[in-house]
Symmetry: C2
């Protein structure tokens, strides 16, 4: 895939991000909402630092496009997209903590615990996770209560002990207990896959689409999630190779078990092509309406940053 | 209030806790629920350590009793009570972290980050918070979706940046910027009051009671929350006085601003009596049905541990 192929998709990604940024800013302002007492300025500033950081907003894009596929209400989809981004950003804030990955920088800016302090970073993450469920459950997400409840449940399952947080635990354990291939696949399906799956499934839930469509979109999200992780591992290997002049990557050097480390770059490229084909086939029933989602699958597989 | 007066209430508290403990055990087992991939044993063990720790389960009791006041479905109330306890326990796990209060022991047992490690404690807290919303939104909480969504929203508002987590942030700030009386009241209403308020309000939501009842129970919860904090601060002062042979408490020694430190023990005892009267008056319309909730208000104000 050449750079030219990616341009239209990246433009769509940027266009979709605009209204999302505006909504996130509004949701993260300091005026207390109904049922709240007051929103401490310091905490809200830390939450904004962790969210309004120039992210690509890929997960929100997937929510918005999957919702559009079923002609769902755009405003409701935007709120669900914002909620999902709050969950994604909370996970990054907590991941960056000294007790976890201990990262000082994210997107060239100090991480939340560096810009503020550790306690504030922990609380800002906690508050963002809580806010995500607030946003979805709120009647301002103008959907039947049944769908709001279904979205809360699906997001909680994707983000909790049996999803993202469980995957983060397995990832920490993998530093001590090297997982086998099945273990790596499970870890990645949880750590990065579960939220991607939710992102795509969410559109079908928002629209009240039939269960078969919901499952189809969820499968599409899982395929994208796998591709995302493979591309990431491949990037780690190849970026390192070009910088260090050798074929071993950061992950491999750190003893980190990845599918790319197990099977090599050529295998990974083959897998990525297969996953994109699989993702596209899942969307074939939707014809041209799914064009941008198909582009998203290619973008994820080909991403170089 | 004498010890004898408390016995019937404490027996009711213990009786109510039994089914709750059983449900919490079931919710925290390792079998993945629908929509989950797998639940890492290590993470689930940390979550259980933080929850199944012999707590008094006061907040769940308030949910169950307020629900009973309106003849709400007992099974649904039990699940909401369990969800609230997950939120309370997550907040204790994160509060105990080295970056926060740095406590090694809770109820005589090692805190989660001591029994496991910091990263696992952060993730166990995150997973418990997420699980709380999972429990409420699940159709197993056999309530109309409108009520499940309302409960998710009310809990998120009580627990988030404009409630408990906001209060924790203000509490950390209070070590540097000494709050005035209004600031202390606001801090306490957020840090401990918001969840107590939710606990009592929840019963009315579960039952689909009219807004006036919901507001009345919420006010009762706020009064209990204030009493809880006053009793806590008073205990700190008097426990310290008997141990140290002087009238300055731990909080005062640490320079911590509390209403008891500002106004003294006699004032605090007067306030506590006033809050109990106020709480009881709020429940007068419910007659004998509210007897145990009234006992709860006395228990909170008189508690000595």
């Amino acid at each position: 895939m050449t750079k030219d192929d990616q341009m239209p998709f990246e433009a769509a990604l940027v266009a979709r991000a605009g209204p999302l940024e505006a909504l996130l800013r509004q949701l993260l302002d300091e005026r207390p909402h109904s049922g709240e007492i007051a929103r401490p300025e310091h905490l809200m500033a830390a939450m904004r630092h962790g969210v309004l950081n120039g992210g690509k907003r890929l997960r929100p894009f997937l929510v918005l496009e999957s919702a559009a596929l079923f002609s769902a209400d755009g405003e409701a989809a935007l709120r669900v997209a914002a909620a999902l981004e709050c969950v994604h950003c909370y996970s990054l804030i907590h991941d960056d903590l000294p007790a976890m990955d201990d990262d000082d920088l994210r997107r060239g800016q100090p991480t939340v615990h560096k810009a503020f302090d550790e306690a504030t970073a922990i609380l800002a993450g906690d508050a963002l996770l809580t806010l995500a469920f607030d946003i979805i459950a709120d009647e301002a997400t103008a959907l039947p209560a049944e769908r709001r409840a279904a979205l809360v449940l699906a997001l909680a399952r994707a983000a909790g002990a049996g999803g993202m947080v469980g995957g983060q635990t397995l990832d920490l354990e993998a530093e001590h207990i090297r997982p086998d291939e099945a273990g790596i696949i499970r870890l990645q399906a949880m750590k990065t896959g579960a939220l991607m799956r939710f992102a795509c499934e969410a559109g079908a839930i928002i629209a009240g689409a039939p269960p078969a469509d919901r499952e189809r979109l969820a499968e599409f999200g899982s395929a994208i999630g796998l591709a995302f992780q493979l591309a990431d591992d491949l990037l780690d290997l190849t970026a390192d190779a070009s910088q260090m002049g050798k074929a071993t990557g950061k992950d491999a050097a750190a003893g980190k078990a990845t599918l790319v480390a197990l099977h090599g770059a050529d295998w990974a490229r083959g897998q990525l092509n297969g996953l994109v084909d699989q993702a596209h086939a899942l969307l074939d029933p939707y014809g041209e309406d799914a064009a941008l989602l198909k582009e998203a699958a290619k973008f994820v597989a080909a991403r170089n940053n």
